[in-house]
């Protein structure tokens, strides 16, 4: 383990903005993709039900 404390960990040696920015934006994009794919199938299923 290379971190003296949680604070040290979150500071990322002064690169917090870049490191957490990278991971944060990636997580947001993936979460959005999961949500939108789920939504797409839901909408498709609802439309088919309405047509019946």
């Amino acid at each position: 383990m290379y971190w003296a404390s949680w604070q040290d960990f979150f500071a990322m040696g002064g690169y917090a903005f870049y490191v957490w920015g990278s991971f944060g934006l990636s997580v947001l994009l993936v979460a959005w993709e999961v949500w939108s794919v789920h939504q797409r199938r839901l909408v498709a299923a609802q439309r088919i039900q309405q047509l019946q």
Partner: protein, 246 residues
């Protein structure tokens, strides 16, 4: 029944839809397991880089995303070509399902690369051969998606998209070899098929775990999107109506 015939039956959307539904949770579970272990190795085990400090930890998301963006493109072009050559609907749907995920991974590679470039190179963006060819890859994905959605007749959209995807394959070796063909600011390959890795093995291990997580996620989400596409495109089929009302 012969094995080949048993496999071919899954080329029918009706047969593949439930199979995909059963496979998805396993790929998601694998993705979560690899992600947790990858993040653990990447943040708790891997040491600080002696040149880049902690900023190098961005590679644990950047490199797997960049690998996936190229690999998904090849898969997309492969399925599009199969759909074009053999007129198999499900193959074309698979290509359609892969495109947004490939676009997402190339966007992640570009964004995280930019966030690494600012502190390391002093610039968010440079018109370097590697960066530019990766940006073209993103535009190829977006072009494929836009072209397909602009054509109303699905089978014509599949054919047009397949031609675009196949022409775009030329960009893949350009991305891969860009760091060798041109004198780029982007560093050369640390991990290549022809030489031993040029990085500490614990860092490499963390990166491979993250790559496996991305791989499992990409398969899971693409299969999930494929199921949505099957419902959209087969909406008039009786089995779809039965599936949805069940």
């Amino acid at each position: 029944m012969k094995l080949s015939a048993r496999l071919y039956q899954y080329a029918a959307p009706q047969a593949f839809y439930p199979v995909a539904g059963q496979l998805i949770p396993w790929f998601y579970a694998a993705a979560v397991a690899f992600l947790i272990s990858g993040l653990y190795v990447g943040f708790a085990v891997a040491p600080t880089d002696f040149q880049q400090g902690e900023a190098y930890r961005i590679i644990f998301v950047h490199v797997p995303a960049a690998w996936m963006s190229i690999w998904i493109y090849l898969m997309m072009a492969f399925w599009a070509a199969i759909g074009l050559a053999f007129n198999t609907k499900l193959s074309s749907m698979m290509a359609q399902a892969l495109a947004p995920t490939g676009a997402l991974f190339s966007a992640v590679a570009l964004i995280t690369g930019s966030l690494w470039g600012k502190p390391m190179w002093g610039a968010w963006w440079v018109w370097d051969a590697r960066l530019t060819s990766e940006l073209i890859l993103l535009f190829l994905y977006l072009g494929f998606i836009a072209l397909q959605s602009s054509i109303d007749e699905p089978r014509r959209a599949d054919r047009a998209g397949a031609v675009l995807a196949l022409v775009g394959v030329i960009n893949v070796p350009v991305i891969y070899f860009s760091v060798r063909w041109w004198n780029t600011l982007h560093q050369g390959a640390s991990v290549s098929m022809s030489a031993a890795p040029k990085m500490a093995s614990v860092m490499l291990f963390g990166m491979l775990l993250m790559a496996l997580a991305s791989w499992a996620y990409a398969i899971g989400i693409s299969l999930s999107r494929l199921r949505g596409i099957i419902l959209e495109r087969e909406r008039c089929a009786d089995w779809v109506k039965a599936e949805v009302s069940a």
